[in-house]
Structures are given as C-alpha cells and as structure tokens.
Symmetry: C2
Subunit: 488 residues, 2 copies
C-alpha cells in the first residue's frame, strides 16, 4: 500500500518531480549540519516502518533537523526542487498520515525536543514539536501544573504530531482535544517561510484563527515546529468507579447525572462492552470486579484540585442515587490508587486484548452523545446481518460520543478472509454513523487510510472549500500530498 | 467616518459597483418575501446608527431574511451585482464591524431568531444566528443546562455576532471564548452557496477546521446562519468574594492559589483598579465594602454544580490562607445572592461610570497573565509621561490576561482636546503591549476601528496568509469589505 499517496489524485506539480535523489541530498547536506540528512537504508528504516505494518514508507531521504531554521531551510530546498515533504513526529499514528512515497522526503521533528519555557502563572508551556507527550506531562507536573492530553501512545508520540492530528484521548470530556489545549504555534510554510504565531495569550482577537487551520491538518498546510500549550491546575484528588449497567441508554443517564452532580470534575466517562471486558480478562490477566457478566460497563473518573478529598462522598452518593434509580446493577469504587489503576487497565487493556483475540476491523466514530444507544443498536444489527458471528468490541469515550467500534473476527473464520471484508464492513458502519449525523473519524484522523472514505461522505461544498484552502497555502503540493483531503 | 470602508484599501471588484440601488432592490424584492427588503430611510435607521455614534452606516438597502435560504438568495443576487454585503447581528459591537458604506447592502440576521433544538444528553443546542444571547442562556437554563457565554450586551447582542467576533466576557477563564463553545456551524458563502457544518459532535477529525476559520472572521469569510452550541452542567453553588490587594502581582499570586485550590471552580477573577472603584462609587451609587482605599481589588467567583455548598468553606480557607500570607489586605465574602450581585455591580458598573467621568481613550488588550503587572507598570509610567493627569481606569479579566486599559480625561482638560490624542495614546499603550508579546484586541475584535493598527503591528507573513485565505473564500470581496484584515 506504500504507493497509495501517488494513486489518490493526480496532482500537477511536486509529484511529477522524478529527480535523482542524490542531487537533492547533496543540496540538503550542503545547507544542513552533519547527521541531519540520512540516505542509508539502515538509518532510514525506523522512519519508514510502522508498528502494525499496514504501510511501508519509501522516502530515499530522511531529514532530522534540530531547529526551526533548519526545517525552513529544508522545506525551501525541497520546494525549489518540487519534491514533496512528509513531516513525521513519533510515528504512532493509526491512519498512515506519515507514510512517505519513493519520490518524497521524510522530515522527522524528533530532534526538536526541547521544552523551552514553563510559565506557571500564565498556565502555559512553550515546547518544540518533537517533545514526547509524556515528557511534557512530566514537566508540567514538576511545575505544579497539569497538561491533560493523555492517550495510549504518550510514551513515544510527539506533540507536533498530536497537534497536526488534533489528538483526543481519555480527558477530552473535561479538557477538549489537542486543539483546545493550544494557545500559539510556530509553523514552517510550504515555501519555507516561518509563521510566528507563538503567542502565549489566553485571548487574542486580531485576525483569522490561523492556528486552528494548521492544527488537525495532518501536515498538509504547514509543518508545526513549536507550540505554546495551555496548562491547568494539578489534580490531587482522583476517584474511580467501575459500574455494571443494563444498557448504553442507562449509561447516558448516569453520565448526565454525574455531570449534574460533579460538573467538570467528571474527567473521564468510558464505555466498555461486555465482549471487551471478556477479552481483557482472557488475554491480559485483568479481572472484572463483578462475579456476574453484565451487558455493558462504565468507568467513571472524578478528579479535582482540592486536597481535602471532597470528591469521594460525591461519587458515593452519585452511585447510591443511580443504584436506587435502578440505573446501575453493580458498582465498585477504587479504595486506593492501585485499585484505581487496576480498574483503568480493564479499559486500557482493550487494544492489546483485541490483538490477541484475532483480526480486527476498526472504526473510530462519533455521534451526538444522545444517539450512541441508537448507533450501537443499528450497527450491531447490521453487522450481525452482514457477518454472522462477528464479535463486537465497542469501547471508548462515551462522554464525547466517540466509540471505538471494532469487530473481532468470528470464531472459526480465517483471519485473511475476515480482513478482506474491511471496506465492506466500514461501509456498513459508516453509513449508519453518517445517517445519525456522526463522524467517520472522531479522533484518529484521515491520513491515507480514510482519504477515500472522506471523499465518499463529505459534502462536496466542504471538500471544495478544503481544496481552496490547500491551494491558498500550498499550491505546489509540497506538504504531505495525498493525505487527508487527498489532494495530490 | 462612514466612508472609511472605502478608503482603507482599494479593491478590484465589488467596490467598483456604483449601480443604482433601485435596480438591485427590485431584484431582491422579486426574490424575497414582502417586508424583507427595506429602503425607506426611517426603516433603515436602526441598522445604521450605533449607540456611541462613532460611526454612521450608509447602506441604501437593508435586508431582514428569515431563513438560510433567504440569506443565500440575497447573497447570490448581491454577488452577481458585485455589491458588497455587511452582515449585522445585534449591532452592539465596539469596533465598527457592521458599519455599512453607501454602496453596500446591510443584511440583518435578527429575524432568524429561533432556538431550533436543545439536546440535554448531548449537552448541545442548535440555534439560528439572530437569537439574542440572553434568550439562549434562558433556554439552556430551562433544560437544566448552562450556556456560559456572558457579557454586558447579552440582552441585545445576537449569537451570530458573538461567533463572528469570537466574543469573550466574564467566564472565559473557565469556559473559553465563543469559539470554544461552538461545535457546529452553517455558513452562507460569498457566492451564495451554503456550507453545512452544523454538526453536533464533540469530536470530529475529518478535515480542516473550517468552523474556526469563520468564527472570529467578522463576517469577511462567510455569513453564519446557524450554530450548534456546547452546553454545560448548571452551576448551583456560587460564592463571590471581593478582595483588597497591595498590587497586581499579589493578585496574580492569589489567582494561582485559587486555581490550585479550587481548579475550574474559579469561574471569574476580575481586576478592579482603585480609580475604577472610585468612579463606580461616585457615579453609579455602588459602595465599596471597605472603609479604606486600596491600590487594587479582585473579584473572585467560585461556582460549582454540587448543591451541598462545598465551595463556601473552600473560598473561606483560600482567603484565610491568602491573608496569612500577607497577600490580601482585606476581603469580604457575599452572604447572599443579593450581596453577590452588589459585589458584581462594582465590577460591571465600570463602563457606565466611565461615561459619566468624562472622555475615555480605550484599549482592550491582553498579555500573558504573568506579565500583567509589568504591563500596568510600564503603561502607567508611559501614559503619565505623555499626558500628565490622565486617570487610568484599568479593569477586566485578569485570569485571561485581558485588561480594559482605559484612560479617563485629566481633570480640567477639554474633552475634545483629550479625544484628539486617541491615536497617539493608542500607539503608546499598544507598543508596550506588543513588546510584552500581547494583543491589541483581546476580545472586541478589529472591525474598522483597529484595521489600521492591525496592519501596523501584525507580522507581514501573517497578514499575507490572511489575505490568501480571504482570496480563497471571497475573491470578489462581497463580504464586509474593509473590515478586520482591511482587504477591500
């Protein structure tokens, strides 16, 4: 599938460059410090493979700049040579957004990994794009602050990639996506100029919201080199409950009740389907806190900044109220941080358990929160009709209406035969999502994987507007061609 | 000053249309229902004057469509005739963003004022652009939810204008600007087509963030016709304190302490300078809770969703701690809703008191929160040097770093002589703001009033990018020419 970027939509300019990379490499080497330009296969491999081996990159040149000026110089040289650039962060994305073609240059931001400034009074932090998310979280913590973006790949994903893909994760209900956590950006443009929007301002109404255009554009409009991130008060009181429920509609009522009672303290509200908990128990050694099986589970986390532990009684009385109302069949509250971590592992172990349970056909969808029960019902019926025996591993961020709706292969079916029906099953699920006013990519983005789906489902007016913006900012298609909007 | 839109930057297309309005009016009348096209002077006046009489609009035709289809039809006809359109909401803006020229058509959204849907489980609401902000707040409240946007003009400003100008107000610290409160938009484009981005999704990573481009663009990229707004849990516990402090640096330490202790419960943290409180007492009948005068005051509001009143002890212990640390010279906590309202009036009465205290030269600026003390010191010194006796009425949203830094005329100076120095004083204050990495328009926007200042202070790369976006979405300059980016 590595040739995919070139087959999506024939573009007029950059992709036609079929220059000998040696000439380009020489020009790049002349302009950049030693060790920045990699052309040996062994040196490049780490940037071209990805964990799942869905795609294999082909870039003959990999760049590892250490500064904004070096990124700018590299882009200028590539733009002059009409050779496209694929920016890459931690290479942890799930949609092939950083897969490079044989006539493209890969630019890794990983060596721009300095935390430049932390301003606790302004609740901000200035970082380079290659900083690993976990390092940013730790630096905030060291200054008595919280950077709330949190997701599975946080040990290796980089903030530049998080911003380019507008990453989500487990705390979106309270804090928003990566977009909402960003005050300022510095971006290298398609012609190598630098836009300095690195402002540490909580309010600024002086012009169009350029930063929001670059955030979530998957490297197709500019290369994010630095960012000012928003910090929050540290959370010193965490209370976690795991609840057994009759159905997703009851989970929604419980969510509403929890937010009415505890407001923003509701930091996470995660859905775990019966099958998801089953495979976690079977494959990861996790253990359900309940002796019986239940149709669906919810993990609730309340968190706050008050050291006096005022949230525990709130959570207890919430669950009592829910139990009395017949909403909750059973529930446990973690008595220690260790127990809280064990409950979280029941949710976070799902992706690993899925790998061990066989092939998966995945969907990262969202619908209005109020329509999640309707979505689960309709999609469940449609999947069962199309592929009897398919096991539905639904889980995710119920509080955001974002469900990872994954299908595990039916027992006895061949994995290859199952995966061959990926597009067909995607179509069935996504049709229902779109009919319910939902999104076919809630948090993972479009990349290569969903560029075709995007064209299928998006309003043509919106596709045309996106094309015009692409034309306005990168007319020669230097930046990550073929990704996201699929424009070459 | 009404001719200003035409003098800012000569544009190539729409502005050259000098057609007889009668012909255009006839075409509009043929396409739109009776009562939609106003041409009589008496009918138009309300849309052409503004409270402060800084500007006077000149549009010979005023349109009052009732639906998106009617807005689209009107834009199509005007675009064909190359006549620019100035969209208008509640006409409460402070920067002349809806002032119309003699060769422009004014389009009022005021009759599109239906709240179409409230979805409490999804925490969303779908509204037409002409809904008055206070009506939206009330509808949310009626469904047990909060729409937190709150500002002085809420009794008459309209949500479409709030979104077009990315309105701020008193709750930004906790909930963000209008931008952060918007999930979806419907927009009529410059050619009369409709972009349907009216999605009620909390997460959606399928393409460029178009909604963020339209929000805050002051009607220069599209006309917002409908929106899906984000709702929040209702606040049932409100605690308000008014504190006397030695200096703004102590106020910052107190803010940090308050957020460490109470997290998002810190809903407002407002600064009131000594002079501001003085004129409120003198001109509005407000009464300081303190017998002595202090250099600066802070109004703190903690609010939460827990009916058990857990915030009162938090606020009390916070103030005790601050008192012991020598941060707070004196403080009162409201004992009733009535007392809370009286304390808020000391802050909210400032604009009215200012009008009565003489001429004002105004600045709506922001800097990083940590730099507010440096800004106040430097600006105070520079103003005193340039205009001895000028009285500084500084107040506003300290928690956001957003200070309304207004100068009241020196005693004994002529009002006209004072106001004649508007631009000079703006230059002095804004130079310091920009030097501190700040913004010359934190929340009021650019409009006509600051289009020149924008060009003076903005990085040319950023101005060029904005121009390219304008070219991409409105090449013929049909929408609100001359406003914001100043492009004709």
């Amino acid at each position: 599938m590595s040739g995919a970027p070139f087959s999506l939509a024939p573009g007029p300019t950059a992709r036609d460059a079929r220059r000998v990379p040696a000439e380009l490499a020489a020009r790049l080497r002349a302009a950049l410090p030693e060790g920045t330009v990699l052309t040996e296969e062994g040196d490049r491999t780490a940037y071209l493979v990805e964990e799942r081996s869905l795609y294999r990159g082909q870039a003959p040149i990999v760049l590892r700049p250490r500064s904004t000026a070096e990124v700018a110089a590299a882009v200028r040289i590539c733009a002059e040579a009409c050779v496209p650039i694929v920016p890459q962060g931690g290479n942890t994305g799930l949609v092939g957004g950083t897969v490079s073609g044989a006539h493209e240059v890969l630019l890794s931001l990983g060596r721009m990994n300095r935390i430049e400034d932390v301003d606790p009074l302004n609740f901000t932090m200035t970082v380079q794009a290659g900083c690993v998310l976990a390092d940013i979280q730790a630096a905030a913590e060291a200054h008595g602050r919280l950077f709330p973006l949190s997701l599975g790949a946080q040990g290796s994903c980089q903030i530049g990639g998080n911003l380019a893909s507008n990453a989500g994760g487990i705390n979106v209900l309270r804090y928003g996506n990566a977009r909402e956590l960003t005050l300022g950006l510095e971006v290298v443009l398609a012609d190598g100029r630098v836009w300095n929007g690195l402002r540490a301002l909580h309010k600024d109404n002086t012009g169009y919201a350029l930063k929001h255009l670059f955030i979530g554009s998957e490297g197709t409009l500019g290369i994010i080199t630095r960012a000012v991130l928003k910090l929050f008060p540290r959370l010193t009181d965490r209370q976690v409950a795991f609840c057994a429920l009759r159905d997703p509609a009851d989970a929604l009522t419980l969510l509403s009740m929890a937010r009415d009672r505890a407001g923003e303290a509701v930091t996470a509200f995660e859905l775990v389907s019966s099958f998801a908990l089953e495979i976690v128990e079977h494959h990861t050694g996790g253990q359900s806190p309940f002796t019986e099986r239940h149709p669906v589970y919810a993990l609730i986390e309340l968190a706050g900044s008050d050291a006096d532990g005022t949230l525990r009684p709130v959570l207890e009385s919430l669950l009592e109220q829910a139990f009395e109302a017949g909403l909750v069949a059973d529930a446990v509250i973690a008595e220690s941080l260790e127990q809280a971590a064990a409950l979280w592992r029941l949710r976070e172990g799902i992706p690993e358990a899925q790998k061990k349970a066989g092939g998966s056909i995945k969907h990262d969808v969202s619908v209005p929160v109020s329509r999640v029960p309707a979505f689960l019902k309709r999609a469940g019926d449609a999947v069962a009709a199309a592929m009897p025996g398919a096991r539905i591993c639904a889980f995710g961020h119920l509080g955001d209406g974002n469900i990872h709706y994954n299908l595990t292969q039916p027992e006895g079916m061949e994995k290859a035969a199952f995966l061959a029906r990926w597009e067909e099953m995607n179509g069935i699920v996504h049709d229902i999502v779109v009919d319910l006013g939902g999104s076919i990519s809630a948090e993972h983005g479009i990349g290569l994987l969903k560029a075709g789906e995007l064209r299928r489902y998006k309003d043509p007016v919106e596709m045309e507007l996106m094309g015009r913006l692409r034309d306005a900012l990168d007319p020669a298609r230097i930046l990550n061609p073929g990704k996201m909007v699929g424009l070459g």
